[in-house]
């Protein structure tokens, strides 16, 4: 695994080099500033598999570096692990909002660093295996028909305010649960009938729709502090801070209105009718460890259950439309 570690403290860099090398991570590049890191990343022929970043550095800090790196297409989903002494909530929030995948506070336990890197290595290997298994999949044209695997895959959606990867959302909650989850709530947003709606649609149409729905959710949650993650198909896990006055019905209406304003269409001009359902918002306080992570799956299950109580306006699928129109 090719790793880049960035920290302005030479002692930390030496410590990381020792800690990583005994665990077998020897393909390690060290640098002392964000500017140097950007230069190294830009000149690297083979992208790094993982970045380890400090937050507090002179000039461009680690959060700004994360944002800059995430804008590079080859680093859109690269695991970025913040290793920082900044343990306050505001730093954790801004790091994950910028695109951090995980967060370790200094002084760190060596075993903790090894454990997090093992998770990252598994993720990197899994992504490589997927690419090797389906070389065609990687080069697939956006116009190709959406597959079951496409529907199950979680999208990163990093260009949308508050949208972070699902695994990053889990890691965020694990980190924040060490401080306080007071006032935080989790809920799911589910688009019923996604498999039917996008049956025979192109990958481009499906991804565009998911991006638009995420954007609608994000717009409707502003100006609250929130994170949204795509959980596959039409499912979104959401976490808000200060959700005491949060009203599910209002949010659901607002999202529906926003999507109507967006006027979604398939590429052939047919209107795309998606009506997301918002599940009950559950308080996260008093949860810890895996309990807080499991809250996300429970929130999605609640939203899924809520779809049974909503009238679903059925739009004709592309397959049905082709039959109706006779081609």
């Amino acid at each position: 695994m090719k790793i880049l570690a960035v920290d302005d403290d030479p002692i930390i860099l030496e410590l990381l080099a020792e800690v990583l090398s005994v665990a077998g991570y020897t393909n390690l590049t060290l640098c002392a500033s964000s500017v140097e890191a950007l230069d190294i990343v830009a000149k690297s022929d083979v992208p790094f598999d993982c970045l380890l970043l400090d937050i507090q550095m002179p000039g461009m800090d680690g959060v700004q570096l994360t944002s800059a790196v995430r804008k590079m297409p080859e680093y859109a989903t690269t695991p970025i692990l913040m290793i920082t002494a900044m343990s306050e909530r505001t730093y954790i929030d801004s790091a994950f909002a910028a695109g951090a995948s995980d967060y370790i506070t200094k002084p760190f336990e060596i075993s903790e660093v090894h454990a997090r890197l093992r998770v990252i290595e598994d993720l990197v290997k899994e992504r490589r295996r997927k690419d090797d298994r389906n070389p065609v999949e990687v080069k697939r044209d956006a116009s190709s028909t959406v597959t079951q695997a496409d529907l199950e895959a979680r999208m990163a959606l990093s260009d949308i305010d508050g949208c972070i990867e699902y695994l990053a959302l889990e890691n965020y909650l694990l980190q924040v649960s060490k401080i306080s989850l007071f006032g935080m709530r989790a809920f799911g947003v589910v688009v019923p009938d996604v498999h039917r709606i996008f049956q025979s649609s192109s990958l481009f149409e499906y991804k565009s729709a998911i991006t638009d729905i995420a954007e609608a959710i994000s717009d409707c949650l502003k100006p609250r502090d929130f994170f949204v993650s795509h959980a596959g198909a039409g499912d979104f896990a959401c976490v808000i801070n200060g959700g005491e006055t949060f009203d599910v019905a209002t949010l659901e209406n607002n999202i529906a209105n926003k999507l109507r304003e967006m006027d979604l269409h398939f590429c052939d001009g047919r209107p795309m009718t998606v009506t997301p359902v918002v599940g009950e918002a559950r308080a996260l306080q008093l949860k810890s460890g895996r309990g807080v992570v499991n809250s996300l799956t429970r929130a999605l299950a609640d939203a899924e259950a809520a779809t049974k109580n909503r009238p679903v306006r059925k739009a004709a699928s592309s397959w049905q439309m082709k039959n109706i129109l006779g081609f």
């Binding site: 002692i11 410590l15 020792e18 090894h114």
Partner: protein
């Protein structure tokens, strides 16, 4: 990931610990210099910022390298400085005591490290 090489880790950490102690000498000298600037209102803010930065770095590694008490003292100073936006009337006497105390603690750590 290959199985952990405990012996390798131990000797690697020992190397970094020595580097930390060498660096501690430099950091301590700089802290003494900065501490003397705190009485000058025109230099206080910048000096305090650098004191915070030095303590931030010590706090980040000291405990992992086997100096938990030094790490905790540095983290306490770093936290206070990080939360304080300005020093219109100079630093609080309690904070000055903490800075004096960590300068002594760094000296002790260094002496112990040199003997080890």
């Amino acid at each position: 990931m290959k199985p952990l090489n405990a012996e390798g880790l131990s000797s690697g950490l020992a190397r970094v610990r020595l580097r930390f102690i060498d660096e501690l000498q430099v950091r301590r000298s700089r802290l003494i210099e900065l501490r003397s600037q705190l009485d000058d209102q025109s230099q206080c803010s910048e000096a305090m910022k650098e004191i915070g930065h030095i303590n931030h770095k010590i706090a980040g590694t000291a405990e992992t390298l086997g100096f938990p008490s030094l790490g905790a003292s540095a983290a306490a100073i770093d936290n206070i400085i990080d939360k304080t936006k300005a020093w219109p009337t100079g630093p609080d006497p309690a904070l000055l005591n903490q800075i004096d105390s960590i300068i002594s603690e760094m000296n002790l750590t260094q002496e112990k490290g040199d003997c080890a």
